[in-house]
């Protein structure tokens, strides 16, 4: 299924949220195998979504820039703008 930019960004936000919440949980439950397995699962799903997003719509982090002709990091809209959400 082909996602548009907004749908893909939402997916990445969902994965990142799950991963961040798990990260805080793991900070105080360092031996939870269940949480570690979930973290691993969401991390790989997130990576797929980020790879697709980066390829089609540009980078979410400056270091991901892949365009040899242009530096696209400064391209809007920026996250706090309504158009980005």
């Amino acid at each position: 299924m082909m996602h548009n930019q907004n749908q893909l960004l939402r997916m990445i936000q969902k994965y990142d949220f799950a991963l961040y919440d798990l990260m805080l949980y793991l900070d105080t439950h360092t031996q939870s195998r269940e949480a570690l397995a979930l973290f691993d699962k969401y991390r790989s799903q997130r990576q797929q979504a980020v790879d697709e997003y980066t390829k089609r719509f540009g980078s979410l982090q400056a270091i991901q820039n892949q365009n040899p002709n242009q530096w696209e990091w400064g391209k809007g809209p920026f996250p706090w703008e309504r158009e980005a959400n």
């Binding site: 961040y20 990091w73 996250p79 703008e81 980005a84």
Partner: protein, 211 residues
Amino acid sequence: MWIYDKKLQYPVHIKNPNPQMAQIIMTQIGGPDGELGASLRYLNQRYTMPTDEIKGLLTDIGTEELAHIEMVSAIVYQLTRGLTPEELKKSGFDKYFVDHTTAIYPASASGVPFTAAYFQSKGDAFADLTEDMAAEQKARATYDNILRLADDPDVIDPIRYLRQREIVHFQRFGEAMRMVQDRLNSKNFYACNPSFEKKCGNHCPNRCKHH
């Protein structure tokens, strides 16, 4: 170090400007229980924490609070777009406008500028973690008050998300507190300062021998 991710932690998409609401919500940027104070509190306290797990937890929660400053700022920014001088006067936002136009400036709802006096970095794990737990509850109560005053679903949705995060952070800080207690003589939590005294913990210093 930190690396910027070009997205919000949770989306903010507000269709209708509402400067009066912006004035209220901005308190969660630079007010007494706001996200800026939260972030600086944890990121400053982390250095002297007695265990690696808690250093990690404060780093991660402090970092998440940075993302929350950005979310609340996005809410305020979007609520103050395209205002006319008439709307500014009628809403009462004119007093903020005269100093900052529609820029984001860390201040409370009543206009008091942010100050580091809103938080403490005590260098004592119990004192600091107790403050952190209280801080999360105060921020949660502030979001509850905002929800009592808000009627726009576009505003309510991200505010409810932020409120929920305070509850999760409170839970994690409670666990961190328990972790420090467990390392100490369980009958004498306060006999020494685990952030300062190297032998505080499983190796109790001389002065708590009588317990």
